[in-house]
Amino acid sequence: MTNEAYLPVSYFAAAAGGVALAAATAAVLARPEREATAEHAPGPLARIVRRVLPTWLILAALMGFASVTYFDCHHDSYSKIVADRDHLVHKTGEQASAISNYLAVALAAYGLVLVFFLWARAAGRRTARRTTFRKVL
């Protein structure tokens, strides 16, 4: 395969791989996430929290993919970039690495969002119990 052909193939394959990895991660976590947000949750908020995960992960993967540039001091034009196969291979690896890193950070950040969701739910239950107790008194 020539470098001219390798560049677009590797570029779009990296993007597609990143989106697929994000979608697979969201699919693996879909069931536990539903369990975490289901019980007595405020309906619309639980739906938002559930639906935001795949979107969030796909955006993070694309952000990681787009954060890598092919230009540097020795490769400042398209002709220089496409002439260097090692550079192209290296950049594809860098894209895969950035996608994985961004996905890991996004997932950990989503864990923090879920903490606040669970907190809101626990606080809501407590308030509901107190109100019921006062009504009984």
């Binding site: 369990e35 690495s97 950035a98 890193n101 950990a108 864990g111 923090l112 407590r126």
Partner: protein
């Protein structure tokens, strides 16, 4: 060819490290997350997300490893590839320790906020 073997060794070492970390954290994390009924429904999510996060962190470090130029690769002896593998493990350790600390911080926040609620 030697480069591919060295890269596979690097990936295997990173995978083994991830497996050991996941194994060590599994039980205490389950105990922590099932402490009360407010956290319990999310126990599976956090357990699974932890394994995915550290796997992605290790994957990022492994696929980001720099291969030597073809000229240098041909001149490398066995120990040259061992050093290359050890050098490749350095970012794996950094990445895993960073994400591990981050996740422990997340669990601390979770327990700090929800741990004070008691089951009634």
């Amino acid at each position: 060819m030697n480069g591919l073997v060295a890269w596979i060794a690097l990936a295997a070492a990173a995978g083994a490290l991830v497996a050991v970390m996941a194994g060590l954290m599994r039980k205490p994390m389950q105990d922590l997350l099932t402490a009360n009924r407010h956290m319990a429904p999310a126990a599976k999510f956090y357990g699974r997300a932890f394994v995915i996060v550290i796997s992605l962190a290790a994957l990022a470090a492994v696929v980001g490893a720099d291969f030597p130029c073809p000229q240098q690769a041909q001149e490398k002896a066995f120990m040259g590839w061992v050093w290359w593998t050890a050098d490749g493990l350095k970012p794996v350790f950094w990445s895993l320790s960073g994400f591990l600390m981050g996740y422990v911080l997340l669990l601390t926040i979770l327990f700090g906020i929800l741990g004070r609620y008691r089951d009634e």
